[in-house]
Protein backbone atom coordinates (compact mmCIF):
# COMPACT_ATOMS: atom_id res chain seq x y z
CA UNK A 1 0.00 0.00 0.00
CA UNK A 2 1.20 3.48 -0.84
CA UNK A 3 2.18 5.35 2.35
CA UNK A 4 -0.38 8.09 1.57
CA UNK A 5 -3.21 5.57 1.47
CA UNK A 6 -2.55 4.31 4.99
CA UNK A 7 -3.38 7.78 6.28
CA UNK A 8 -6.73 7.71 4.52
CA UNK A 9 -7.44 4.20 5.76
CA UNK A 10 -6.90 5.43 9.31
CA UNK A 11 -9.01 8.52 8.71
CA UNK A 12 -11.79 6.44 7.15
CA UNK A 13 -11.86 4.00 10.04
CA UNK A 14 -12.07 6.83 12.58
CA UNK A 15 -14.84 8.45 10.52
CA UNK A 16 -16.86 5.24 10.76
CA UNK A 17 -16.86 5.55 14.60
CA UNK A 18 -18.78 8.72 15.49
CA UNK A 19 -18.38 7.84 19.17
CA UNK A 20 -14.59 7.90 18.77
CA UNK A 21 -12.01 5.16 18.96
CA UNK A 22 -8.76 4.66 20.89
CA UNK A 23 -5.43 3.62 19.43
CA UNK A 24 -5.50 -0.01 20.49
CA UNK A 25 -8.95 -0.67 19.03
CA UNK A 26 -7.95 1.23 15.90
CA UNK A 27 -5.02 -1.07 15.28
CA UNK A 28 -7.38 -4.04 15.55
CA UNK A 29 -9.73 -2.43 13.00
CA UNK A 30 -6.85 -1.77 10.63
CA UNK A 31 -5.90 -5.43 10.78
CA UNK A 32 -9.50 -6.50 10.29
CA UNK A 33 -9.96 -4.57 7.05
CA UNK A 34 -6.53 -5.11 5.62
CA UNK A 35 -6.40 -8.91 5.54
CA UNK A 36 -2.71 -8.44 6.29
CA UNK A 37 -2.07 -6.61 3.04
CA UNK A 38 -0.28 -3.92 4.85
CA UNK A 39 1.54 -4.03 8.15
CA UNK A 40 1.16 -1.25 10.64
CA UNK A 41 2.99 -1.23 13.93
CA UNK A 42 2.04 1.00 16.88
CA UNK A 43 4.91 3.39 16.25
CA UNK A 44 3.80 4.03 12.72
CA UNK A 45 0.12 4.24 13.69
CA UNK A 46 0.78 6.85 16.39
CA UNK A 47 2.92 8.89 14.03
CA UNK A 48 0.04 8.97 11.58
CA UNK A 49 -2.43 9.89 14.35
CA UNK A 50 -0.18 12.75 15.53
CA UNK A 51 0.14 14.02 12.01
CA UNK A 52 -3.62 13.94 11.43
CA UNK A 53 -4.22 15.67 14.76
CA UNK A 54 -1.75 18.46 14.12
CA UNK A 55 -3.19 19.12 10.66
CA UNK A 56 -6.64 19.45 12.25
CA UNK A 57 -8.16 16.29 10.73
CA UNK A 58 -8.67 14.65 14.14
CA UNK A 59 -9.87 15.71 17.58
CA UNK A 60 -8.29 14.01 20.55
CA UNK A 61 -9.85 13.68 24.01
CA UNK A 62 -8.53 11.97 27.13
CA UNK A 63 -10.64 9.12 28.43
CA UNK A 64 -10.34 8.60 32.19
CA UNK A 65 -9.87 4.97 33.21
CA UNK A 66 -10.04 3.59 36.75
CA UNK A 67 -6.74 2.31 38.06
CA UNK A 68 -5.07 2.71 34.68
CA UNK A 69 -3.51 5.56 32.76
CA UNK A 70 -5.88 7.71 30.72
CA UNK A 71 -6.12 6.89 27.05
CA UNK A 72 -6.63 9.03 24.00
CA UNK A 73 -9.88 8.80 22.04
CA UNK A 74 -9.81 10.01 18.43
CA UNK A 75 -12.72 11.56 16.52
CA UNK A 76 -12.82 12.97 13.01
CA UNK A 77 -13.31 16.74 12.59
CA UNK A 78 -15.29 18.54 9.88
CA UNK A 79 -12.02 19.26 8.17
CA UNK A 80 -11.05 15.59 8.36
CA UNK A 81 -14.32 14.59 6.70
CA UNK A 82 -13.69 17.01 3.89
CA UNK A 83 -10.19 15.64 3.39
CA UNK A 84 -11.57 12.11 3.33
CA UNK A 85 -14.35 12.99 0.87
CA UNK A 86 -11.86 14.69 -1.45
CA UNK A 87 -9.71 11.60 -1.47
CA UNK A 88 -12.64 9.21 -1.97
CA UNK A 89 -13.56 11.00 -5.15
CA UNK A 90 -10.12 11.66 -6.54
CA UNK A 91 -8.95 9.60 -9.54
CA UNK A 92 -7.37 6.25 -8.80
CA UNK A 93 -3.70 5.63 -9.27
CA UNK A 94 -3.01 4.10 -12.67
CA UNK A 95 -0.72 1.32 -11.50
CA UNK A 96 -2.42 -2.01 -10.96
CA UNK A 97 -1.37 -2.93 -7.43
CA UNK A 98 -1.94 0.42 -5.70
CA UNK A 99 -5.23 0.65 -7.56
CA UNK A 100 -6.55 -2.56 -6.07
CA UNK A 101 -5.78 -1.52 -2.52
CA UNK A 102 -6.88 2.04 -3.07
CA UNK A 103 -10.20 1.10 -4.60
CA UNK A 104 -10.90 -1.39 -1.81
CA UNK A 105 -10.30 1.37 0.75
CA UNK A 106 -12.49 3.82 -1.09
CA UNK A 107 -15.27 1.23 -1.23
CA UNK A 108 -15.02 0.63 2.51
CA UNK A 109 -15.60 4.26 3.38
CA UNK A 110 -17.96 5.16 0.61
CA UNK A 111 -21.17 7.05 1.38
CA UNK A 112 -24.39 6.03 -0.38
CA UNK A 113 -24.47 9.31 -2.34
CA UNK A 114 -21.01 8.73 -3.77
CA UNK A 115 -21.54 5.46 -5.62
CA UNK A 116 -22.10 7.11 -9.00
CA UNK A 117 -18.87 9.03 -8.73
CA UNK A 118 -16.93 5.91 -7.94
CA UNK A 119 -18.56 4.13 -10.91
CA UNK A 120 -17.20 7.01 -12.96
CA UNK A 121 -13.71 6.32 -11.59
CA UNK A 122 -14.07 2.64 -12.44
CA UNK A 123 -15.04 3.54 -15.98
CA UNK A 124 -11.98 5.75 -16.38
CA UNK A 125 -9.79 3.01 -15.02
CA UNK A 126 -11.29 0.43 -17.37
CA UNK A 127 -10.47 2.76 -20.27
CA UNK A 128 -6.84 2.86 -19.13
CA UNK A 129 -6.68 -0.93 -18.98
CA UNK A 130 -8.32 -1.42 -22.38
CA UNK A 131 -5.85 1.01 -23.92
CA UNK A 132 -3.07 -1.02 -22.35
CA UNK A 133 -4.51 -4.21 -23.89
CA UNK A 134 -4.68 -2.46 -27.25
CA UNK A 135 -0.98 -1.60 -27.02
CA UNK A 136 -0.14 -5.19 -26.16
CA UNK A 137 -2.13 -6.42 -29.14
CA UNK A 138 -0.47 -3.96 -31.52
CA UNK A 139 2.94 -4.89 -30.29
CA UNK A 140 2.14 -8.55 -30.80
CA UNK A 141 1.06 -7.93 -34.38
CA UNK A 142 4.13 -5.83 -35.14
CA UNK A 143 6.41 -8.58 -33.87
CA UNK A 144 4.54 -11.24 -35.84
CA UNK A 145 4.71 -9.17 -39.02
CA UNK A 146 8.40 -8.48 -38.59
CA UNK A 147 8.77 -12.26 -38.77
CA UNK A 148 11.19 -12.44 -35.85
CA UNK A 149 11.26 -15.54 -33.72
CA UNK A 150 9.17 -14.17 -30.91
CA UNK A 151 8.71 -17.04 -28.47
CA UNK A 152 10.14 -15.22 -25.47
CA UNK A 153 8.59 -11.84 -26.15
CA UNK A 154 5.30 -13.57 -26.80
CA UNK A 155 5.41 -15.10 -23.34
CA UNK A 156 6.09 -11.69 -21.83
CA UNK A 157 3.15 -10.23 -23.73
CA UNK A 158 0.94 -13.17 -22.65
CA UNK A 159 1.80 -12.40 -19.03
CA UNK A 160 1.05 -8.69 -19.38
CA UNK A 161 -2.23 -9.51 -21.09
CA UNK A 162 -3.30 -11.99 -18.40
CA UNK A 163 -2.68 -9.48 -15.65
CA UNK A 164 -4.66 -6.73 -17.36
CA UNK A 165 -7.45 -9.17 -18.11
CA UNK A 166 -7.64 -10.09 -14.41
CA UNK A 167 -7.68 -6.43 -13.41
CA UNK A 168 -10.54 -5.72 -15.81
CA UNK A 169 -12.58 -8.69 -14.54
CA UNK A 170 -12.13 -7.44 -11.02
CA UNK A 171 -13.28 -3.93 -11.99
CA UNK A 172 -16.37 -5.42 -13.66
CA UNK A 173 -17.01 -7.45 -10.52
CA UNK A 174 -16.71 -4.40 -8.27
CA UNK A 175 -18.97 -2.41 -10.55
CA UNK A 176 -21.68 -5.07 -10.46
CA UNK A 177 -21.52 -5.19 -6.66
CA UNK A 178 -21.65 -1.38 -6.43
CA UNK A 179 -24.69 -1.23 -8.63
CA UNK A 180 -26.40 -3.79 -6.40
CA UNK A 181 -25.65 -1.49 -3.45
CA UNK A 182 -23.37 -3.69 -1.38
CA UNK A 183 -21.15 -0.87 -0.22
CA UNK A 184 -21.20 2.22 1.92
CA UNK A 185 -20.40 1.69 5.57
CA UNK A 186 -19.08 5.11 6.38
CA UNK A 187 -21.85 7.31 7.85
CA UNK A 188 -21.93 10.14 5.38
CA UNK A 189 -22.90 13.70 6.15
CA UNK A 190 -25.68 13.65 3.60
CA UNK A 191 -27.93 11.62 5.93
Amino acid sequence: MKPGNVQFAVLGLIASKPEGIHGYALKGECEAISDAFWSLNYGKLYRILDLLESSGELDVADQIQQGRPNRKVYRITERGRRTLDDWLLSPLTGEAQPLRDELVLKLLFLGAGQVNKVCELIKQQRGIYLTRLARISRRRRRLAKAGVDMKASELVLDGAEMRVRADISWLDHVERALIKGHFGSYPSKQK
Binding site: K123, R126, G127, Y129, L130, T131, R132, L133, A134, R135, I136, S137, R138, R139, R141, R142, L157, A160, E161, V164, R165, I168
Partner: protein, 232 residues
Protein backbone atom coordinates in the same frame (compact mmCIF):
# COMPACT_ATOMS: atom_id res chain seq x y z
CA UNK B 1 -20.24 3.83 -42.74
CA UNK B 2 -22.91 2.79 -40.30
CA UNK B 3 -24.97 5.31 -38.37
CA UNK B 4 -27.61 4.80 -35.70
CA UNK B 5 -29.66 7.85 -34.88
CA UNK B 6 -31.86 7.91 -31.72
CA UNK B 7 -32.81 4.29 -32.24
CA UNK B 8 -35.50 2.83 -29.99
CA UNK B 9 -36.29 -0.86 -30.04
CA UNK B 10 -38.64 -2.87 -27.85
CA UNK B 11 -39.58 -6.51 -28.08
CA UNK B 12 -42.92 -7.96 -27.01
CA UNK B 13 -45.91 -6.13 -25.62
CA UNK B 14 -47.68 -5.66 -22.28
CA UNK B 15 -46.08 -7.39 -19.31
CA UNK B 16 -43.51 -9.20 -21.46
CA UNK B 17 -42.30 -6.02 -23.15
CA UNK B 18 -38.52 -5.52 -23.07
CA UNK B 19 -37.07 -2.10 -23.77
CA UNK B 20 -33.77 -2.87 -25.44
CA UNK B 21 -32.58 0.34 -27.09
CA UNK B 22 -33.61 3.74 -25.72
CA UNK B 23 -32.28 6.40 -28.05
CA UNK B 24 -29.14 4.65 -29.21
CA UNK B 25 -26.67 6.77 -31.23
CA UNK B 26 -23.52 5.54 -32.88
CA UNK B 27 -21.53 6.39 -35.99
CA UNK B 28 -18.91 4.03 -37.35
CA UNK B 29 -16.83 5.58 -40.13
CA UNK B 30 -15.97 3.53 -43.20
CA UNK B 31 -12.99 1.26 -42.64
CA UNK B 32 -13.24 1.27 -38.86
CA UNK B 33 -13.19 -1.93 -36.82
CA UNK B 34 -15.41 -1.34 -33.81
CA UNK B 35 -16.16 -3.78 -31.01
CA UNK B 36 -19.40 -3.84 -29.09
CA UNK B 37 -19.38 -4.97 -25.47
CA UNK B 38 -22.03 -5.06 -22.77
CA UNK B 39 -23.81 -7.42 -20.41
CA UNK B 40 -25.91 -10.27 -21.72
CA UNK B 41 -29.27 -8.95 -22.88
CA UNK B 42 -28.02 -5.39 -23.34
CA UNK B 43 -28.88 -5.44 -27.05
CA UNK B 44 -25.57 -6.16 -28.79
CA UNK B 45 -27.02 -8.68 -31.24
CA UNK B 46 -30.04 -6.44 -31.78
CA UNK B 47 -27.70 -3.65 -32.90
CA UNK B 48 -26.09 -5.91 -35.48
CA UNK B 49 -29.43 -7.22 -36.69
CA UNK B 50 -30.62 -3.64 -37.18
CA UNK B 51 -27.65 -2.81 -39.40
CA UNK B 52 -28.18 -6.01 -41.39
CA UNK B 53 -31.81 -5.06 -41.99
CA UNK B 54 -32.93 -8.25 -40.21
CA UNK B 55 -34.88 -6.24 -37.61
CA UNK B 56 -36.40 -2.78 -37.92
CA UNK B 57 -36.34 -0.07 -35.26
CA UNK B 58 -39.49 1.23 -33.50
CA UNK B 59 -38.21 4.75 -34.05
CA UNK B 60 -35.01 6.45 -35.12
CA UNK B 61 -32.95 5.73 -38.23
CA UNK B 62 -30.14 3.50 -39.36
CA UNK B 63 -27.91 4.51 -42.23
CA UNK B 64 -25.75 1.95 -43.97
CA UNK B 65 -23.27 3.29 -46.50
CA UNK B 66 -25.06 6.64 -46.35
CA UNK B 67 -28.53 5.23 -47.09
CA UNK B 68 -31.44 5.17 -44.65
CA UNK B 69 -32.38 1.50 -44.66
CA UNK B 70 -36.01 2.27 -43.74
CA UNK B 71 -36.31 3.95 -47.15
CA UNK B 72 -35.15 0.90 -49.11
CA UNK B 73 -37.74 -1.19 -50.90
CA UNK B 74 -37.79 -4.99 -50.63
CA UNK B 75 -35.47 -5.47 -53.62
CA UNK B 76 -32.95 -2.94 -52.42
CA UNK B 77 -32.97 -4.54 -48.97
CA UNK B 78 -32.29 -7.94 -50.53
CA UNK B 79 -29.41 -6.45 -52.49
CA UNK B 80 -28.06 -4.89 -49.31
CA UNK B 81 -28.06 -8.31 -47.60
CA UNK B 82 -26.63 -10.15 -50.60
CA UNK B 83 -23.92 -7.72 -51.66
CA UNK B 84 -23.08 -5.10 -49.02
CA UNK B 85 -23.51 -6.43 -45.50
CA UNK B 86 -22.30 -9.84 -44.34
CA UNK B 87 -22.94 -11.40 -40.95
CA UNK B 88 -20.78 -13.90 -39.05
CA UNK B 89 -22.32 -15.66 -36.06
CA UNK B 90 -21.04 -17.45 -32.99
CA UNK B 91 -22.66 -20.66 -34.26
CA UNK B 92 -21.15 -21.03 -37.68
CA UNK B 93 -24.48 -21.72 -39.45
CA UNK B 94 -22.84 -23.91 -42.07
CA UNK B 95 -25.06 -26.36 -43.93
CA UNK B 96 -23.92 -29.82 -42.76
CA UNK B 97 -24.57 -31.65 -46.04
CA UNK B 98 -22.54 -29.21 -48.15
CA UNK B 99 -18.76 -29.13 -48.55
CA UNK B 100 -16.77 -26.12 -47.37
CA UNK B 101 -16.58 -24.94 -50.98
CA UNK B 102 -20.33 -25.20 -51.50
CA UNK B 103 -21.07 -23.45 -48.23
CA UNK B 104 -18.92 -20.53 -49.31
CA UNK B 105 -20.48 -20.51 -52.79
CA UNK B 106 -24.02 -20.39 -51.41
CA UNK B 107 -24.53 -16.60 -51.28
CA UNK B 108 -23.31 -16.32 -54.89
CA UNK B 109 -25.71 -19.02 -56.06
CA UNK B 110 -28.59 -17.20 -54.37
CA UNK B 111 -27.51 -14.13 -56.28
CA UNK B 112 -27.28 -16.05 -59.61
CA UNK B 113 -23.61 -15.35 -60.10
CA UNK B 114 -22.24 -17.07 -63.20
CA UNK B 115 -20.18 -20.29 -62.59
CA UNK B 116 -16.71 -19.12 -63.64
CA UNK B 117 -17.09 -15.94 -61.65
CA UNK B 118 -18.29 -18.06 -58.72
CA UNK B 119 -15.25 -20.33 -58.83
CA UNK B 120 -12.87 -17.39 -58.97
CA UNK B 121 -14.49 -15.65 -56.01
CA UNK B 122 -14.86 -18.77 -53.83
CA UNK B 123 -11.21 -19.72 -54.39
CA UNK B 124 -10.16 -16.20 -53.53
CA UNK B 125 -12.23 -16.15 -50.32
CA UNK B 126 -10.91 -19.57 -49.22
CA UNK B 127 -7.39 -18.31 -49.92
CA UNK B 128 -7.94 -15.13 -47.89
CA UNK B 129 -8.94 -17.08 -44.79
CA UNK B 130 -6.18 -19.64 -45.32
CA UNK B 131 -8.40 -22.70 -45.64
CA UNK B 132 -8.17 -23.73 -49.31
CA UNK B 133 -6.89 -27.18 -48.31
CA UNK B 134 -10.23 -27.95 -46.58
CA UNK B 135 -12.41 -27.09 -49.55
CA UNK B 136 -13.93 -30.57 -49.91
CA UNK B 137 -14.52 -31.22 -46.21
CA UNK B 138 -17.98 -31.22 -44.67
CA UNK B 139 -18.54 -29.07 -41.56
CA UNK B 140 -18.53 -32.14 -39.28
CA UNK B 141 -14.99 -32.96 -40.45
CA UNK B 142 -13.59 -29.58 -39.41
CA UNK B 143 -12.55 -28.00 -36.11
CA UNK B 144 -14.38 -24.99 -34.67
CA UNK B 145 -11.65 -22.64 -35.83
CA UNK B 146 -11.74 -24.07 -39.36
CA UNK B 147 -15.54 -23.88 -39.44
CA UNK B 148 -15.42 -20.23 -38.41
CA UNK B 149 -12.92 -19.54 -41.20
CA UNK B 150 -15.34 -21.09 -43.67
CA UNK B 151 -18.11 -18.91 -42.26
CA UNK B 152 -15.88 -15.85 -42.68
CA UNK B 153 -15.04 -16.88 -46.24
CA UNK B 154 -18.77 -17.17 -46.91
CA UNK B 155 -19.19 -13.63 -45.56
CA UNK B 156 -16.31 -12.29 -47.70
CA UNK B 157 -17.30 -13.98 -50.93
CA UNK B 158 -19.89 -11.27 -51.63
CA UNK B 159 -17.14 -8.58 -51.29
CA UNK B 160 -19.12 -6.78 -48.61
CA UNK B 161 -18.31 -3.25 -47.52
CA UNK B 162 -19.48 -4.16 -44.01
CA UNK B 163 -18.96 -7.28 -41.92
CA UNK B 164 -20.97 -7.74 -38.72
CA UNK B 165 -19.59 -10.43 -36.42
CA UNK B 166 -21.63 -11.59 -33.43
CA UNK B 167 -19.29 -13.25 -30.91
CA UNK B 168 -17.24 -14.88 -33.67
CA UNK B 169 -14.94 -16.43 -31.08
CA UNK B 170 -17.67 -17.46 -28.66
CA UNK B 171 -17.27 -21.17 -29.38
CA UNK B 172 -13.48 -21.25 -29.76
CA UNK B 173 -10.57 -21.74 -27.40
CA UNK B 174 -8.12 -18.94 -26.83
CA UNK B 175 -5.58 -19.90 -29.51
CA UNK B 176 -8.24 -20.34 -32.20
CA UNK B 177 -9.94 -17.12 -31.03
CA UNK B 178 -6.74 -15.18 -31.49
CA UNK B 179 -6.33 -16.51 -35.02
CA UNK B 180 -9.90 -15.54 -35.92
CA UNK B 181 -9.52 -12.03 -34.50
CA UNK B 182 -6.17 -11.61 -36.27
CA UNK B 183 -7.81 -12.75 -39.47
CA UNK B 184 -10.64 -10.22 -39.09
CA UNK B 185 -8.10 -7.51 -38.30
CA UNK B 186 -6.05 -8.38 -41.40
CA UNK B 187 -9.16 -8.35 -43.59
CA UNK B 188 -10.15 -4.99 -42.15
CA UNK B 189 -6.71 -3.58 -42.89
CA UNK B 190 -6.13 -5.10 -46.32
CA UNK B 191 -9.66 -4.90 -47.74
CA UNK B 192 -10.78 -1.77 -45.86
CA UNK B 193 -13.98 -3.54 -44.73
CA UNK B 194 -15.94 -1.74 -42.00
CA UNK B 195 -16.49 -4.12 -39.09
CA UNK B 196 -18.60 -4.40 -35.97
CA UNK B 197 -17.50 -7.21 -33.69
CA UNK B 198 -19.52 -8.21 -30.63
CA UNK B 199 -17.39 -9.81 -27.96
CA UNK B 200 -17.38 -10.42 -24.22
CA UNK B 201 -13.62 -10.66 -24.07
CA UNK B 202 -11.70 -7.41 -23.46
CA UNK B 203 -8.58 -8.85 -25.10
CA UNK B 204 -10.39 -9.35 -28.44
CA UNK B 205 -12.21 -6.04 -28.06
CA UNK B 206 -8.86 -4.30 -27.64
CA UNK B 207 -7.71 -5.61 -31.03
CA UNK B 208 -10.21 -3.22 -32.62
CA UNK B 209 -9.92 0.54 -33.23
CA UNK B 210 -12.66 1.34 -30.80
CA UNK B 211 -14.78 -0.19 -28.03
CA UNK B 212 -18.41 0.76 -27.49
CA UNK B 213 -19.96 -0.48 -24.24
CA UNK B 214 -23.72 -0.75 -24.06
CA UNK B 215 -25.75 -0.30 -20.91
CA UNK B 216 -29.36 0.65 -20.21
CA UNK B 217 -30.15 0.82 -23.92
CA UNK B 218 -27.63 3.52 -24.75
CA UNK B 219 -23.88 3.86 -25.24
CA UNK B 220 -22.40 3.78 -21.76
CA UNK B 221 -18.81 4.18 -22.80
CA UNK B 222 -17.02 4.84 -26.07
CA UNK B 223 -13.29 4.21 -25.95
CA UNK B 224 -11.01 5.09 -28.83
CA UNK B 225 -7.97 2.81 -29.03
CA UNK B 226 -6.23 5.03 -31.51
CA UNK B 227 -3.15 4.89 -29.33
CA UNK B 228 -0.01 4.87 -31.39
CA UNK B 229 2.50 2.17 -30.78
CA UNK B 230 4.15 2.93 -27.48
CA UNK B 231 5.88 0.59 -25.07
CA UNK B 232 3.63 -1.85 -23.21
Amino acid sequence: MIRYQSVHKNFGAGPTRVEVLRGFDLEIPAGQMCSIMGPSGSGKSTILHLAAGLVSPDSGSIFVGGRDIAKLDEDELTTLRRRDVAVVFQVFNLLPFLSAYDNVALPLRLDNVERNEERRRVEEALELVGISHRRNHKPAQMSGGESQRIAIARALVISPSIVLADEPTGNLDSAASRQIIDLLRDLNETLGVTMMVVTHDPVWAACCDRIVRLGEGVTEDDISLDCEARAV
